[in-house]
Structure formats: structure tokens, C-alpha cells
């Protein structure tokens, strides 16, 4: 079985209190904020590793990211991935989800056949939850989102549990496929000290735009139809209002206030 896990380096949530927005460019100032694997991508990697533990095969991680993303890929290798591919080129800068998915799918095409491409349902920085579906479309394989469980049956088809509003659906698919997972799918393993040492022996390849079959109008800022209108930090307001009266009166006042505010 061959699984490729798409991961994204994101600013470590433990340091989010230090994050700021550049008022001019409307981009995150990431300087000095350590990167980490997007948390849901860790669940995707765990899914790939646990499938490999049972079925054998190979797990690769792929990321489209700046060249200094080595530590994040190394963390994925230390979790147990066999090798890593970093798609990195200044030409990829400014990519929205579509341009990102296009480059990722070009990287996946170059890698050849696979059974599964998997990633987290969404990232904690962008949070669009679009890339997995877009990659699935570019690759022309079945794509299931919000995955909470995967069962590989003896017939060779896979039963994919996908969360929907008020319940879940089970989809039966034969590989290859593209999945994006929710945290309910598993509990990611820890990086052990032994695996940190093992990871140092594993290979990370860097592919630039020259290594991939790409059409220039589809990559980077030029290939990104998304237009950011504005991005801002919401104003912090510590405003508390106490509702007087007996509990029944307070509840009525609260319900009225919520109704007038358009919440219910």
C-alpha cells in the first residue's frame, strides 16, 4: 500500500499570542513563531501509519511550503513517515487553495501510483477546508471529507465513515482515493526519542517548479482567483452586563435580548 500524506506547516498554536497581522500586506507575521504540523494533518499521518502497520507499504509526506520547513517535515518523519517531499519555489508564493492544490497534485502525479492521499480536513491558519477536495478533483479520484474512520475490508474495498450534520455516512470505495480526516479518526502517536534518531537517516527531497509539470498561469499569486478583501484582528471587548431579577425574569430578559440581537 502506498499512502501520501499532504501536510502543511502552520504557526504553532502555543505561540499564537505572539502572532500579528501586517497592516499593509494583510498577511501573518510569522517571524519568530515556530512552525508545526497542522494538527489535523497529524491525524492524517497517523491514519497512514496505522494502515501501513497493518497492511505494509510506504508512507510519504508531501508539503508545499517555504524552504525553511525542514523541521516540520522532520517531525513527520520522526512520527514514522518513510520519506518526505517538499515542494518549494518562490513561484509558488501567494498561492490560494486552488493554486496550492494544483501544485500538490502535480507533485503527486510525479510520484506515480498511490492507494491513498490523505490530509487533515482543514488547517488552523487558513481554515478553508478546500484543498483536499480540489486535489481530489485534479487527481480524478474519489474524494471523501470529514472522515472519522476507515475500515479496509478483505474484498479490497474500503469503508469510509464520514461525518455529516446530525450523523454520519459510510462510503464504500476502492483505492485510489483522496480523504481528509477529522480528529475523531484516531489519536496521533508520540514522536519517540528513537524515532527522532531514525528520522535523521531518512530522505527529504525538495522539488521546485522546474521538477514538476506545471502551467505557469496556474501557480502562485497568478494562479489564485481568491481575492482577500480584508483581514483584521477583532477588537477585544470585555463588556459584561448583569441582568437583574429572579431567575425566571433573568431568563426572559436574556431570551428577549438574544432574539433582538438576531441569535434566535
Amino acid at each position: 500500500m502506498r499512502t501520501i500524506v499532504c501536510i502543511k506547516p502552520v504557526p504553532d498554536p502555543k505561540h499564537w499570542n505572539r502572532l500579528a497581522l501586517d497592516p499593509k500586506t494583510k498577511t501573518l507575521i510569522r517571524k519568530g513563531i515556530p512552525g508545526t504540523i497542522n494538527p489535523l494533518d497529524k491525524h492524517a499521518l497517523e491514519l497512514a501509519l496505522s494502515l501501513r502497520d497493518k497492511q505494509g507499504g510506504e508512507v510519504l509526506v508531501m508539503s508545499m511550503a517555504p524552504p525553511d520547513s525542514g523541521p516540520v517535515l522532520n517531525e513527520a518523519l520522526a512520527m514514522g513517515a518513510d520519506r518526505a517531499i517538499l515542494l518549494s519555489d518562490i513561484a509558488f508564493a501567494g498561492a490560494d487553495t486552488l493554486a496550492t492544490a494544483y501544485v500538490l497534485s502535480a507533485g503527486l502525479d510525479k510520484l506515480g501510483e498511490f492507494d491513498l492521499v490523505v490530509c487533515g480536513d482543514q488547517t488552523i491558519d487558513g481554515g478553508t477546508a478546500q484543498v483536499s477536495a480540489q486535489v481530489g478533483e485534479f487527481l480524478g479520484v474519489p474524494n471523501v471529507m470529514h472522515v472519522t474512520a476507515v475500515d479496509v475490508t478483505s474484498s479490497g474495498s474500503w469503508l469510509i465513515h464520514s461525518q455529516i450534520e446530525h450523523g454520519y455516512v459510510v462510503v464504500e470505495i476502492k483505492p485510489p482515493m483522496m480523504l481528509s480526516v477529522l480528529k475523531e479518526v484516531n489519536e496521533p502517536r508520540y514522536v519517540t526519542l528513537m524515532n527522532i534518531l531514525e528520522a535523521e537517516k531518512k530522505e527529504t527531497r525538495v522539488w521546485s517548479s522546474n521538477d514538476l509539470e506545471l502551467e505557469e498561469p496556474w501557480i502562485g499569486l497568478n494562479g489564485s482567483p481568491t481575492c482577500m478583501v480584508d483581514l483584521f484582528v477583532p477588537e477585544k471587548k470585555n463588556k459584561a452586563e448583569f441582568l437583574a431579577g429572579e431567575p425566571r425574569e433573568q431568563a426572559a430578559k436574556l431570551a428577549d435580548r438574544l432574539h433582538r440581537s438576531g441569535f434566535c
Binding site: P34, N74, E75, Y190, V191, T192, L193, I196, L197
Partner: protein
């Protein structure tokens, strides 16, 4: 001079932090109440490589070294200082086997210790005192193919969760008459005694060991007869003191976090108390203590890995870091006001933990003697 941690060390810190936050945090309340180490975590600690961090891979460890050990202990201690207290003694036990054990002892004991099948113990201190190593009274008399041990050891960390004890006992006269042995709980005459009830570091078990005509096979002598003092001292210099300094680093991390969080959240006179200089001064003191203790402790880890003699530096790191932890914890309590002495707030526990760390692994006074000797020699 490069003060930057390597990518390996950064990843190590991150992985241990994740492990500690997820696995240890939920057990802290029970540890505090029962005074018990969470032995159910030993297996996963073994799988993580925490227990064998200074043991070579051929004996079940990772051989990452002493700087890595300090990172591991600091990160565990950031969440719960009692954990590195217990583990640093466990490491002291593995250190003795690594450095002085023969091949058969290494093969027999180290893989089990690294896998977490048992905890390690080093028993030096006796009821008559721990600082006067040369004055210890536990005896070991050779009788055919066995040594017969008689005596009592006290304040022994991990005593109740270990079946593998490194014991220092007297085989001759004076400081050169001490020898090190590995004693198993199952040996006739070996007994685990009372459990101590400490005010701090409660999740690290402390107890008593006694030897009543305890029969120890001759092959369980570690090194050679008369090497016991060297084993004890070197173990304290390269493992015990840096280990306790790391426990203190964990405490200091917790102290700074709690103090800063409280200062940011607490409002008085209509504004955050963090705006008051009366709060900022002690906060700056705590920050300084943490940073200085870090530099001193990590230097020792690096020196050990480079095979550089570090008895004085190790004593300094231990003494400074443990006392810094106690004075910083007190300042954090003062920042908290009356909340600081309420059990719901962790700062009171951190002060209790720091107070226990000061005499553990060698008292502050003995560490100061080492430093004073060095100072006098420099200009003598």
C-alpha cells in the same frame, strides 16, 4: 559559542512536552493526594525513550546524552516536577551500570530499566546522614561467593517501585572502604521499609530500604571493591545534581507561567495588576532566575557530553537552580496574594516542590563547599 539548540533537541523538547501535557496532567491530582508515582506510565515512558536517554542503544536506550536528558527532565517538570524527581534517580541508576557495570550486569539490568519494567534506585543516604558519605554504616562482608549486607538506607527515591537497587556499602575502612552493589528485592534479607510523606514532589516515592544479613552474589559487586565512593560521587556530579537542577528548571517554568498568567488576568483598581511595577519587579526576578538556572544547567549537560570535568559547575547549577525555584515560587505566591496559598492554585504546590528539591540529591551547603574549594584553589 553556540547557544542554539539543534533541530534534534528542539524536536525532542516538543515531543516530550506533548507527552507530558497529555499523559501526566490528568494524573497530577491523584499523585498529589496519594503520594504515588504513576507506575502505569512507565511502559509508555520506556517506549518514548525517556528512561534510557543516557543508555546506549545496545542496552535498550537511545544514547542521546546528558543535554538531551536535561531537556527531557525540564519538560516533564514543567508539567509535574515530581516526575523528573523520580526519573532523575532512575537515570542515576542506569548511569552507574553504564559507567561501571560489567557486560553481564549491563545486559541483565539495563534493558529492563530502559523499558520501564522496573524503576531504578541508588541508595547512599542513611539515617545518620547523606552528606557524610564516608561515614556510612551499612556493611558488606564477603562470605564465600556472597556479600552479606547489613544496615539501613533512608530517603530513597523509587524504593517502593523498584526491584533493582544500586547500594553503596562499607567493605573496608574510611572513604576508600566503600563499594557499590546491585541488590534485587528478591534477595534474602532485602526489605523495603516505610514510605515517607513529603510536603512536596509528592508523586515521587521516597522510602526506606533495609538489609538484614542480606545475601548478595559476589558477581553483583559493581566495579571493584573500594570504588563505591567514586561511584557515588561521580553519579551525584554527573547525574544527581544536574538532575535536581532540571527538576528545579521544571518548577521555575511552572512558576513563571503561573505568575505571568495570574498577573495578566487579575484586575485591581480597575486595571490589570500586570501594569503595576510592584508586580513587574518580582516577575522580572522570576524570569531572571529561570534564564540563569537554564544557562547553568544546560552548560553542565553539554560539559558531560563533551567529557569535560564539571564537579563545580554541577554543584553551582544544582544549588542555584533549586534555591532559585524556592525563592521564585514564593514571589509567585506573593503576586497571587491570598489566592497563592489556596490549594486550587498550583503556585503553593510549586513552593512545596522547590523546598523538597533543595536538600535532595546533595544539600545546598555541600554544593557550596565544592564551589568554595574551587574558588580557594583558583587563588591559593
Amino acid at each position: 559559542m553556540d547557544f542554539k539548540f539543534s533541530e534534534r533537541e528542539e524536536l525532542l523538547r516538543k515531543s516530550i512536552r506533548e507527552y507530558a501535557e497529555k499523559e501526566i496532567t490528568p494524573r497530577m491530582e491523584a499523585m498529589e493526594e496519594t503520594g504515588e508515582f504513576p507506575v502505569d506510565l512507565l511502559k509508555s515512558m520506556g517506549q518514548m525513550g525517556i528512561l534510557g536517554v543516557i543508555t546506549p542503544p545496545e542496552y535498550g536506550g537511545t544514547g542521546l546524552g546528558h543535554l538531551a536528558r536535561i531537556i527531557v527532565l525540564e519538560e516533564l517538570g514543567r508539567v509535574c516536577p515530581a516526575i523528573p524527581m523520580a526519573l532523575q534517580v532512575h537515570h542515576m541508576c542506569t548511569y552507574v551500570f553504564n559507567r561501571w557495570g560489567n557486560e553481564s550486569q549491563k545486559k541483565k539490568y539495563l534493558p529492563r530499566l530502559c523499558a520501564g519494567e522496573t524503576m531504578g534506585v541508588v541508595a547512599v543516604t542513611e539515617p545518620s546522614g547523606g552528606s557524610d558519605v564516608a561515614g556510612m554504616q551499612t556493611t558488606a562482608v564477603l562470605d564465600g561467593d556472597k556479600y552479606i549486607l547489613n544496615g539501613r538506607k533512608c530517603f530513597i527515591t523509587n524504593a517502593h517501585h523498584s526491584d533493582t537497587w544500586v547500594v553503596i556499602a562499607r567493605t573496608g575502612e574510611g572513604g576508600k572502604g566503600l563499594s557499590a552493589f546491585v541488590v534485587e528485592t528478591s534477595f534474602p534479607g532485602a526489605k523495603v521499609g516505610r514510605k515517607e510523606h513529603k510536603v512536596g514532589l509528592r508523586g515521587a516515592n521516597t522510602g526506606e530500604l533495609s538489609f538484614n544479613n542480606c545475601e548478595v552474589p559476589k558477581e553483583n559487586l559493581i566495579g571493584s571493591e573500594g570504588q563505591g565512593m567514586m561511584v557515588a560521587i561521580q553519579d551525584i556530579v554527573e547525574c544527581g545534581r544536574p538532575g535536581m537542577a532540571s527538576v528545579a528548571l521544571g518548577i521555575l517554568n511552572g512558576v513563571l507561567e503561573q505568575a505571568a498568567k495570574f498577573a495578566n488576568e487579575r484586575t485591581l483598581y480597575g486595571k490589570s495588576i500586570s501594569k503595576l511595577q510592584g508586580i513587574q519587579w518580582p516577575l522580572a526576578d522570576i524570569y531572571s532566575d529561570l534564564e540563569i538556572a537554564r544557562l547553568l544547567t544546560y552548560r553542565v549537560g553539554w560539559m558531560i557530553d563533551q567529557n569535560i570535568e564539571c564537579a563545580t559547575e554541577s554543584a553551582l547549577a544544582k544549588q542555584f537552580a533549586c534555591e532559585a525555584a524556592a525563592r521564585s515560587a514564593r514571589k509567585a505566591i506573593e503576586i497571587h496574594g491570598s489566592y497563592g496559598i489556596m490549594k486550587e492554585y498550583p503556585v503553593q504546590r510549586l513552593l512545596r516542590d522547590a523546598l523538597v528539591a533543595i536538600p535532595a540529591g546533595g544539600t545546598a551547603e555541600i554544593a557550596k563547599l565544592v564551589m568554595a574549594r574551587q574558588a580557594l584553589t583558583m587563588f591559593g
